[in-house]
């Protein structure tokens, strides 16, 4: 047994997936081989499919929809999980004032508006000057333009997040901005930010303050793609605050910042050169006046908490499949009754019960196969479409695709229903011949 397990786990993942699919399909294939041995019911089955073709199509559609729901739900859940994780990938470590890590993660990574306490200039300088810190970017948020959040940060962080700008150039003064990949502003456009977000945003609160877009970032697959990024000095200046630098530094932007002129930041996005450095920093700055956390770890906790929801979704998918399987069974019984006279004729002219069994099972198998295949494709379309909606609404780039997991789900469903299709096939052979013949 251990040896078998060793062999199995030694196989490449692709081979395991294919083997699992074959194993799941094996009951159906074996049943088909046994049931159809020696018979050629193809023409009759095609005739049955053409007869009452509308009812047959409805039946196939029901199967397809149920399979699509199962496939779509599992693919979507996984896509959402992977998308949210991918969006947080560039955020190694976040240091913020004590509070809720989840709230801070939602604010800093997913740009969800929230009120959070600020870190002081002294705290920022302490972090930024830590020898293990390679990048310490303060952020500032609270403004928006045409629904897109206006985020203040540093050019280094923009480059860390998305690489070099793909259009134009990086902002160089506090009055310049870089658009996220899908932000609703074009390069060269000037705009005045509104204070706040959504319907409550005050459009004229920052009248007279203008940013000019100088470039556009590459896509990151995160809500930052819809944001407009400006130097943090610009955000502070727009709000009438000091800009993080002494007056004699002129219009310089970016680190280092002077603690005496630092108005505060809700979070510092930190990266160390070495992985262990991030852990050291997390440990060092987890203290009463600061909290340091890995967004990836918080997200993993969140996903853990969401496991119940995930399991509920999986359960829903299974329950749907079971309900549909039962419906299929009942439907096949009814459809078989419709064909009772034709089946009785076959028996009258000498067909064995086993042949009737083979015809009815093949007919059922055709409907189920068609439904399962169409369902797999519909599931992919459903996942694809829903991903686009989720991406549009959350700006988290979600790509839900059909993988081997879904193929295994469908293969299992296929085998189970084909085994259950033995029941109506058996029932068809037990019907009263003469009664059916005379009806």
């Amino acid at each position: 047994m251990d040896r078998l397990a060793d062999i199995w786990f030694g196989l490449p993942a692709g081979v395991q997936d294919v083997a699992t699919t074959v194993l799941l399909l094996l009951p159906a294939l074996a049943t088909g081989a046994i049931v159809l041995r020696g018979y050629a019911p193809g023409r009759l089955v095609r005739a049955m499919l053409r007869r009452f073709s509308t009812a047959n199509m409805v039946f196939v559609a029901l199967i397809a929809i149920s399979v699509a729901i199962g496939v779509g739900l599992t693919a979507q859940e996984r896509g959402l999980r992977q998308g949210s994780a991918r969006a947080a990938g560039a955020f190694d470590l976040i240091i913020a004032a004590p509070g809720s890590e989840i709230t801070m993660m939602l604010a800093a990574v997913y740009l969800q508006p929230s009120d959070v306490p600020l870190l002081t200039g002294a705290q920022y300088v302490e972090v930024a000057s830590d020898p293990d810190v390679a990048l310490a970017a303060p952020i500032a948020f609270g403004d928006s333009y045409q629904g897109a959040p206006v985020i203040g940060t540093t050019a280094e962080f923009v480059t860390h997040l998305a690489g070099d700008v793909v259009e134009g150039r990086m902002f160089a003064t506090s009055a310049e901005a870089v658009a996220g990949a899908f932000a609703p502003v074009a390069t060269g456009v000037s705009f005045t930010p509104a204070h706040g977000h959504g319907p409550a945003a005050e459009a004229d609160a920052h009248a007279g303050s203008v940013y000019t877009v100088t470039g556009r970032m590459a896509p990151t697959g995160s809500p930052w793609d819809r944001a407009i990024l400006v130097p943090i000095e610009g955000v502070w200046e727009v709000h009438g605050l000091a800009n993080g630098h002494a007056l004699d530094e002129g219009d310089r932007i970016g680190a280092p910042f002077d603690a005496a002129y630092f108005p505060g930041t809700p979070a510092i996005l930190v990266r160390a050169d070495a992985l262990w450095g991030n852990y050291a920093l997390q440990s060092r700055y987890s203290r009463p006046d600061m909290m340091a956390f890995f967004p990836g770890a918080v997200l993993a906790q969140l996903h853990g908490l969401m496991r119940d929801v995930r399991e509920a979704m999986s359960m829903l998918a299974v329950v749907t499949q079971v309900l549909v399987t039962v419906s299929i069974l009942a439907g096949l019984m009814i459809l078989t009754r419709i064909f009772a006279r034709g089946l009785a004729l076959l028996r009258a002219i000498g067909a064995t019960r086993r042949f009737i069994f083979a015809v009815v099972w093949s007919y059922s198998a055709s409907l189920i196969s068609g439904g399962a295949l169409i369902g797999l494709m519909l599931g992919w379309l459903f996942a694809f479409g829903f991903s686009r909606i989720v991406t549009a609404r959350t700006d988290v780039f979600v790509t839900a695709s059909v993988t081997w997991t879904e193929v295994h789900l469908v293969a299992g469903f296929f085998s189970l229903t084909l085994l259950l299709a033995l029941i109506p096939a058996w029932a068809a052979t037990r019907r009263p011949l003469l009664t059916d013949l005379r009806n």
Binding site: Y39, A40, R51, R341, L346, G350, A351, T352
Partner: protein, 244 residues
């Protein structure tokens, strides 16, 4: 029972003598599920290759007798001996095999699969025949369709045919297995006079020409007149037996 299997024949051999299955029925008792007697027949014999019409009012037990002779109905008592085989003693599978190998059935309302073409309908039994026999069955079906004037209609669907044509397709289906016995239940009842007459000519001609036993339940005097013998039934009993 049968000297030659269908697979061993070709279309040129179809009218050979298939005699050898004389019928001997004794003390036949067929009952409905509720116990009511449908047929009570003391004795009936019929030589292989001869023809018999069964007549009588509705509910007389004609069809029940026909189904008992085919093995579709298991009698409560009595013997139905074809040649040396008492089909009343066979289990269902053996009776199905007997019908498959020896009996061609024709029904009043044709019982065709509308979605199949003419050849597929006529060679329906090929679907469950042994693989080696399937091609021969289809060849026989095509041969009989040709003999019945439907040779050019092979790939058409049956829903475009008249009642008479459909019944001729059903006759081809019954003959495609080269059965020694043809049992027909009101074969002309759904047809107009002209179609019925043509069908009678075809059915009787082909059956007699090939030495097959033909038994038909019918209200059609025209068909009964063409048969060697006419049995009249009432309330499950034989009340008349006319030869010639």
């Amino acid at each position: 029972m049968r000297p030659t299997r269908v697979a061993d024949m070709d279309a040129d051999q179809v009218e050979r003598d298939l005699a050898g299955l004389d019928l001997a029925v004794t003390d036949l008792d067929v009952r409905a599920p509720d116990g009511r007697q449908l047929v009570g027949l003391h004795s009936l014999t019929l030589a292989a290759g001869s023809s018999l019409a069964i007549r009588g009012p509705s509910g007389a037990g004609k069809s029940s007798l026909l189904y008992a002779l085919s093995g579709l109905v298991q009698p409560r008592a009595g013997r139905v001996v074809w040649g040396k085989t008492d089909i009343a003693q066979l289990d269902e599978a053996a009776r199905a095999r007997f019908r498959r190998e020896n009996v061609g059935l024709i029904f009043q309302d044709f019982l065709l699969f509308e979605e199949l073409d003419v050849i597929d309908n006529a060679s329906l039994a090929a679907a469950f025949a042994p693989r080696a026999e399937r091609a021969a069955r289809r060849r026989q079906a095509v041969h009989w369709l040709d003999r019945l004037g439907l040779g050019r209609a092979g790939l058409r669907k049956t829903d475009s045919f008249s009642g008479g044509e459909r019944q001729r397709i059903a006759v081809a289906r019954a003959l495609s297995g080269e059965p020694a016995i043809i049992l027909a239940d009101e074969p002309t009842a759904s047809l107009d006079r002209a179609s019925a007459d043509r069908l009678i000519d075809d059915l009787v001609g082909l059956a007699k020409g090939a030495g097959r036993t033909l038994i038909a339940v019918t209200h059609d005097a025209g068909l009964a007149e063409r048969m060697d013998r006419t049995l009249t039934m009432a309330e499950g009993k034989v009340v008349g037996d006319a030869h010639g």
